[in-house]
Symmetry: C2
Subunit: 192 residues, 2 copies
């Protein structure tokens, strides 16, 4: 199925040496739940973009990643609802409920989820529609993003369309079951 919402994620303050894996996880989580694009600010990183492109090449779809020089401008001018994930925000259920209400009124409303970091400028708190906290304990921006997306999308399973994949996984309770699409309909089942 297609994701019913228009979801974009902004990853602030990416540092290539330290954050590559975390930022890659953020991008791929966004893609896996049907988000359409990740912006990142901080430092431009070819290697991060290549990781995302490689996944797209194998697993399909049209997900985008783009470096952004001025993230504040994006947030300030966002025509839709923006949710800033922070340890210091409103309660999870309240922020999700408020967003869902807005999406109920207008399902085409663009949603921007802002994934911060240690030092977030005060304007982010000010410009964001909602400052939202997944618990008040330090944990993981990836976990926070995943939980908010999962609750927003409210779909039983993470099953979204990724057109023209090279590989497709078939759900299987006992092991790997992968469909190779290069040679149409050839199915390989491995024992592990």
């Amino acid at each position: 199925m297609k994701s019913q919402f228009d979801i974009t994620v902004l990853r602030l303050n990416h540092r290539p040496s330290r954050d590559k894996r975390v930022s890659t996880h953020i991008a791929l989580t966004t893609r896996a739940i049907g988000g359409k694009k990740v912006y990142y600010s901080g430092h431009y990183d070819t290697s991060l973009e290549q990781s995302v492109e490689r996944v797209k090449g194998t697993w399909g779809g049209s997900f985008e990643i783009e470096f952004l020089e001025k993230p504040l401008k994006l947030i300030k001018n966002w025509k839709g609802v923006s949710i800033h994930l922070t340890m210091y925000g409103s309660k999870l259920s309240e922020g999700v409920q408020e967003t869902k209400q807005r999406l109920l009124d207008d399902p085409t409303l663009p949603v921007l989820i802002i994934v911060g970091g240690a030092k977030v400028p005060p304007e982010i708190f000010e410009y964001s529609t909602i400052n939202l906290s997944v618990g008040n304990q330090p944990h993981s921006e990836i976990a926070a993003l995943a939980v908010v997306l999962d609750r927003l999308i409210d779909s039983e399973n993470w099953e979204f369309d990724f057109p023209e994949p090279r590989l497709t996984i078939i759900p299987d309770s006992r092991g790997k079951n992968v469909l190779e699409n290069t040679e149409k309909s050839e199915k390989s089942k491995e024992s592990e």
Copy 2:
């Protein structure tokens, strides 16, 4: 509130140089949602354990992290339900539903969530009660863990007990609001 369930996470095949941040995120996510312990296998890592201990020192609670030489033994002998997170498993909603049913029958049942990696031995698929897939696209083991925990716990907010913290965050829609507990009841509110 206290988490109503007995949740432990096993992080397989930790590599200190490459996985420190990802494994730290896994541990802290488990802690933040009321899990009681993380085991990790692969390579012993003082620095990983210290990161978790530091968070505990500041934010309270009795969360544990422990290196495990033989993870297969733990899974094989687990007295409860074990859920192996993998791209190649049953559908998310089905695995969560099955676990919830077991917990409804016995809320004290110990739950072990196994966070794998690229190369997981076939015994893990065999010994685990459930092989569960958060979508059939590559994304993030941290995201997968967070979503499964969030759905299992089924709590409006991530608000669990962390006794004797040095710092406590007060939910606030517009900025940082932190309570310092070293000097009892002294409240510091910053503008950002």
